[in-house]
Subunit: 341 residues, 2 copies
């Protein structure tokens, strides 16, 4: 009855003296030429990248000149790449993006959920307000597509449809960046109703090696990816929010590391100076395992050129072995990276 | 780099045409004599049972006569076995248990968290109230121990300590029911600060075969376990709450099935009429996989004596393959049992 997997051990969760849970998965580090530097498990198999590719979906907004014409701020560009907590600032910036093209919350087709950051949800409730699509963690991505459509003179209605002109344009960029066809055959639907296309994990990592380094991209595209990376580095809070892994790590490393989590345990990163791209998929969809594994990989492959200070090392030490505390604040175990690098 | 596991495939999560995530784990079905009827993976290895054993921890409250002397309601006994949502009724019944022994929320040593049922958390916030230990999902278990201590003339302060007289008494019952020594060597600390002792998965299942059937128990203990099962069957809402798996299934099957989820993907069940006990531990700690796997096992091994009506079958059909919908209500995939039974 033992299952055979094409995966390796990524992380362990302990309680007291015992390993209570463990996470298998696949992970790969690729250089800008597409050579595999390190891998674990079957990295040729396709995964849905989910929200990890939001920054790739935002390229056209910048490369087309729309962002400049509309005067979108760096905060807005960071939010276009975000899976945010639905905190007040996130909702406010999403609204400002829509206002830049004379639209409002009614234009969003992502659906509504309450802020995932619970204090923000409770603050809304305490003010006797309700959640709206601006609080959806994907509202910045959706607002970005609406901005692009309006700038290009395209009716944004139905922008989530795979056949919509704007959706086709950003999908073409995705296909180009990941060098993988995006067709009906590899399409699924994401939580926010946008399509998500399965791509090989290795191709996803290579896409982010290129996104980070600009290698192999046209000069216009390389400029656009640099602008997006700098916007995110300047406003890492916009990409996720209070207490979130991506925000914490990027807040420390600024333009030296680009990181993005996706649903179901997908995570990507780019180290622009090293020209490396990273991609992880946990078999079971657990984000907690992807976090500790990513910190172990970034710490190892970033080397001394990424970690220059004791604080730089400390960030990875704290995030590749995370202490688990109970409701009384007592340490009960830890979640720790368990990859063989 | 492929990991070898002592586990089998329990569940798959699909998106569009592709399996996006999958969950490995161990599972076992045991009869009241301790014979393994069916198993998947290494079921001799020890797991922390976490909240699955709350009903075993409540036995002494009934068997000692304390519950009767204190006039505890069936709702209160069900709450003593609960990992509840922190809804208003849960907090109210926990408070009533403490009041029965002249105590209040200050006696609880479980720590505070906001209701896990988000509408309940937002309702508290809208009323400008804060969460308190009554909303902790374990407050019923803690209130039960405080009731037992006060009835027995023992100072309840420090009841969460492994060396406290009341803790030792309920731990002795646990050890007896699971026929496994409970010592410093196999002890961890649970989220609510109580000890949790690792026991072989098979022993956990056997404990619940005995809990359900009474086989091998003294007549006093068998009466106590029957009372607890009947209390839970009469008030399945108290054990979990709105939208929860345990509540949904037990609400349908009443005394014919006893189910309890624990943290990190542990789940137990008993089918009293068949004399069977069930235990599942997902490797990765995912509860969603334990749910679909448990429904598949109960449906199969419960047979026609458990499922007597079309509705009975429908409950398992809906819970062993659960439809995944996105924020717009669109079906995007499913989570489904994938055990080989």
């Amino acid at each position: 009855m033992t299952a055979h997997t094409g995966s390796g051990l990524l992380a362990e969760v302990t309680r007291g003296k015992q390993v209570e849970s463990r996470h298998l998965g696949r992970a790969v580090v690729v250089d800008a030429d597409g050579s595999v530097v390190w891998s674990c498990g079957d990295v040729d198999a396709a995964v849905f990248p989910r929200s990890t590719v939001k920054s790739l979906l935002a390229i056209e907004l910048v490369e087309s000149g729309a962002a400049d014409r509309l005067g979108l701020s760096d905060e807005a560009l960071a939010l276009a790449c975000a899976s945010h907590n639905g905190e007040e600032a996130h909702a406010r910036v999403a609204a400002s993006m829509l206002a830049a093209v004379g639209r409002d919350v009614a234009a969003l087709e992502c659906g509504t959920h309450w802020p995932t950051y619970e204090p923000a949800a409770r603050a809304l409730a305490a003010a006797h307000q309700s959640a709206c699509p601006l609080h959806n963690n994907c509202s910045g991505k959706h607002a970005g597509l609406i901005c692009l459509a309006c700038d290009q003179g395209v009716d944004p209605v139905g922008y989530i449809d795979p056949a919509h002109e704007i959706q086709r344009r950003v999908t073409d960029v995705l296909a180009s960046m990941t060098q993988t066809p995006h067709t009906d055959a590899n399409r699924g639907t994401d939580g926010c109703s946008m399509p998500t296309y399965a791509v090989p994990l290795k191709a996803l990592a290579h896409g982010f090696a290129r996104f980070g380094s600009g290698v192999g991209l046209s000069s216009e595209r390389a400029k656009a990816t640099q602008r997006l990376r700098e916007a995110v580095a300047a406003h890492p809070f916009m990409v996720a929010g209070t207490g979130r892994y991506d925000t914490t790590v990027m807040n420390n490393f600024e333009t030296r590391a680009f990181i993005k989590m996706g649903a179901e345990g997908v995570m990507i990163a780019a180290l622009p100076e090293q020209g490396l791209g990273f991609a992880i998929k946990t078999d079971d969809g657990a984000n907690r395992a992807a976090e500790v594994a990513m910190s172990a990989l970034l710490h190892h492959f970033g080397g001394e050129s990424l970690c220059r200070t004791a604080k730089d090392h400390a960030i990875f030490a704290e995030t590749k072995t995370q202490t688990l505390r109970n409701w009384q604040g007592v340490t009960v175990g830890e979640i720790r990276a368990a990859l063989t690098i």
